[in-house]
C-alpha cells in the first residue's frame, strides 16, 4: 500500500517533469481537452444560469397560482383557434369566487382579476416609458410573493373605491425618485395623478430579458376608469395545496365552464396556465443547448483523447530504454502502467485546468458585459470537468501504458 503511494507520487513527479520539459508539445496535445472543457463549462454555466434565472423569475409568479388567460403559455401551432376566443373578463372573478366559497373542500382559495397595459409614468421632469400598469384588487397581494421596500399595498377599502393610489416597482422608484422617498408623492399616468403608497423591493429580471421592476400596480376600478378596456386581462387563482395542482386545475376548469356557460360537448375556450407550463416551454431550449454542447464537448474530447493517446505512444517509444532501465531496477508491470496512465491523465488535467481557467475568465467577462444575465459558475462544474479530464486521460493513456508495461525488459534496453 505504502509502496503504491510512493510509486504514485514518483509517477506524478515524472509526469510533471515530462510536461515541463515538453511545454509546447504538452499544451498542443492538451488543446482538445482544453476546448472540450471550455465547451462543457460554458454549456453548463449557460444551462445553470438559465435555470437559476428561471427559478428566480418563477418564484415571483408563485408556484401555487393558476392563471386563467386567453392564450396558453406555450407555443401553439393553431394560433388562429386561440385568436378568436372570447377575451377573459375581469368580471369573471366575482362568480368564480362565489362558486369557490360555495364549494365544500374547494382546492381554490381566491380568484383575483388583473388587467395590464404599457404606459409612461411621469414625476416632475422625469419620465419612464413602457411601464407595465396593472389594475387589480387588494387580494392580489395573496397571490404574489413580493416584499415592500417602503410603504404598503392598497387595502380593500381603496380597492373597492377605486382610489387613485398606486404601488410602484423598484425601477420606477429609482428613475423618478433618485434622491427622495416616493411615498405620498403623486405620479402622472395618462395625465392622471396617482398617489404612491408603496414601493416593491427589487425583483430582478425575467431571464435577464425584461425587468420585473418596471411596474405600477393600482386598484382595478381606477385602472378601468382611466385606461381603455382594451387591456389584457387574466384571472389569478390561488391554490390551497400546491401538491394537488392537478385537482385544483380540474376544479377551476369546471368553474370556468360554468361561468362561460359552455355546453358539456363544447371545447373549452380559455386556457389555464401555471408556472410549470412556462418551465416546459423552456425545456426545449435547454435541451438544444445541452445537445449542442454535448456534441461539441464529445467531439473535442474525442479528438483530444486521440491526440493524447498518440503523444503517449510517442512518449513510450521515445523512452523505451528508460522503461527497460526501470524494469531492470525493479519496476513491475503495473508500476510502468501506472506511470504512463498518470502521464496521460496529468496531460488531461492540465488541459482541464487551463480550460477551466479560460471558461472562468470568459464567464467573468460575460458577467461584466451583461450584468443582468444570470451567470452561474458552479463547483459542480469544476468537479465534472475534472472528472471528465481524468476519465479522458485514463481512456487515452490505457493502450500506450499497457504496451509499455508489456515491453520485454531486454528488448527495451537494447532499443536504439
Amino acid at each position: 500500500m505504502k509502496r503504491f503511494a510512493y510509486e504514485l507520487s514518483e509517477s506524478w513527479k515524472i509526469a510533471a517533469a515530462q510536461m515541463r520539459s515538453n511545454k509546447t508539445r504538452s499544451t498542443l496535445t492538451a488543446l482538445g481537452v482544453i476546448i472540450a472543457i471550455v465547451a462543457v463549462t460554458l454549456m453548463g454555466t449557460a444551462i445553470a444560469g438559465i435555470q437559476v434565472g428561471f427559478d428566480k423569475s418563477m418564484a415571483i409568479f408563485g408556484d401555487d397560482v393558476l392563471y386563467v388567460s386567453q392564450w396558453p403559455w406555450k407555443p401553439v401551432d393553431d394560433w388562429w383557434n386561440y385568436r378568436d376566443r372570447k377575451k377573459i373578463k375581469t368580471e369573471y372573478a366575482e362568480p368564480i369566487n362565489r362558486i369557490i366559497s360555495a364549494t365544500p373542500n374547494s382546492n381554490l382559495v381566491v380568484a383575483v382579476p388583473t388587467s395590464s397595459l404599457l404606459r409612461s409614468v411621469k414625476y416632475a421632469d422625469s419620465e419612464v416609458s413602457n411601464v407595465l400598469i396593472r389594475g387589480t384588487v387588494s387580494d392580489y397581494i395573496i397571490t404574489s410573493t413580493f416584499d415592500f421596500q417602503e410603504g404598503r399595498f392598497f387595502n380593500e377599502l381603496e380597492s373597492r373605491a377605486g382610489a387613485n393610489v398606486c404601488v410602484i416597482g423598484y425601477d420606477v422608484a429609482d428613475a423618478l425618485f433618485p434622491s427622495e422617498s416616493p411615498i405620498d408623492k403623486s405620479v402622472l399616468i395618462n395625465g392622471q395623478p396617482f398617489k404612491v403608497i408603496g414601493v416593491i423591493s427589487r425583483q430582478g429580471t425575467f431571464l435577464g430579458l425584461f425587468s420585473l421592476d418596471s411596474i405600477v400596480v393600482m386598484p382595478l376600478l381606477a385602472f378601468q376608469k382611466y385606461f381603455s378596456a382594451k387591456s389584457d386581462s387574466d384571472i389569478l387563482v390561488k391554490v390551497k395545496d400546491k401538491t394537488r395542482l392537478a385537482e385544483a386545475r380540474d376544479e377551476l376548469t369546471g368553474i370556468m365552464r360554468r361561468v362561460r356557460g359552455l355546453a358539456p360537448e363544447k371545447k373549452g375556450d380559455f386556457s389555464i396556465n401555471e408556472q410549470q407550463a412556462l418551465k416546459s416551454t423552456l425545456d426545449p431550449i435547454k435541451n438544444s443547448i445541452e445537445i449542442a454542447g454535448l456534441f461539441v464537448t464529445g467531439l473535442s474530447l474525442f479528438v483530444g483523447a486521440i491526440g493524447i493517446m498518440n503523444i503517449t505512444f510517442v512518449s513510450v517509444k521515445e523512452r523505451t530504454r528508460e522503461i527497460g532501465t526501470r524494469k531492470a531496477l525493479g519496476a513491475r508491470r503495473r508500476t510502468i502502467l501506472l506511470q504512463f496512465l498518470i502521464e496521460s491523465t496529468a496531460l488531461c488535467l492540465l488541459g482541464g485546468f487551463i480550460g477551466l481557467t479560460f471558461a472562468y475568465a470568459m464567464c467573468a467577462g460575460l458577467g461584466k458585459a451583461f450584468p443582468s444575465f444570470p451567470i452561474h459558475f458552479s463547483v459542480t462544474l469544476v468537479i465534472v470537468s475534472m472528472t471528465v479530464s481524468i476519465l479522458t486521460g485514463l481512456f487515452s493513456g490505457f493502450a500506450p501504458a499497457w504496451t509499455a508495461s508489456r515491453l520485454d525488459p531486454v528488448a527495451a534496453l537494447r532499443y536504439e
Binding site: 510512493y6 510509486e7 528508460e322 527497460g324 532501465t325 524494469k327 531496477l329 513491475r332 520485454d408
Partner: protein, 255 residues
Amino acid sequence: MGQMRQMNRPILIEIENIAKDYMMGEQIVHALRGVSLQIRSNEYIAIMGPSGSGKSTLMNMLGCLDTPTSGRYEFNGRDVSAMNDDELAAIRNREIGFVFQTFNLLPRADSLRNVELPLVYAGIDPETRRERAARVLQDVGLGDRLHHKPNELSGGQRQRVAIARALVNDPSIILADEPTGNLDSKTGEEIMALFESLYRRGHTIILVTHEADIARHARRTVHLRDGLIESDDGFSGIGILPMGDRLEADPATRQ
C-alpha cells in the same frame, strides 16, 4: 588460502545447461547453447568473449531480465524459471544491481533521484530514501554532486551515479555489462578501482568486458564463444586453468 576462503562461501547463483534461442524470422539464433556456472558470494568474475558470443545474453539471464529457453537457474536456492513477472521484478530490485555501458540514468532527474529510484520500487519511505541515496553517492565519491542532472556530469561521474544506484538497495550481486565501454581508459581505471573497493567490502561482482586490461581486475574469468563456455578459471564449473595459475594472476594477491 584464498581458495579455501572462497570455497566456504555460499553458492549464490547456480545455472545448469542454460540455452537461449532467438527467432529471427524463419531462422533460429542460438545465443546460448548450454551454459553451466556456479557463482559464490563475494566472487569477482569477468565474462569475456568475442562480439556475439552471448555475453550480454548470459548477463541478462543472470540478472533475471530474461528467461532461458531451457535449463535451470537457481538464485539463492530459489528456482528463477518458475517465477512470474512480479517476482522477477522483486529479485531485480532487491538482489541485483545493474550497471550499464550507457549508464542509463534518467535524464531529467538529479543524481539523488536517480539513485533513489530502486528504493521507490522497494517501497521505502522518502526520508530513508534520501538519506541512503546520499550516503551511497558519498561512498562513490559524489557527495558534492547530489543535485546535478546527468548532463551536468562527466561520463565517469555518470557511471559512478549508476553504480551508486546499483548499490543503494544493498544487492547480493552487481552485474556490469561493459561498464567502461563508454569511458576513456583513465576514467575506466577509476571505475575499476571503485569496483575493486566494492569487492573488498564483500560485494559480488560480475562484469562483461572485451578488454583484457579490464578483465585483469577480476579474480575469475569466464570465456564465452558461440554461446558456450570456452574456459573458466574459477572454482566451479568446467575450470580449465589450474587454480594456482589463476591466483598468481590475481592482482590482490600479487601485491
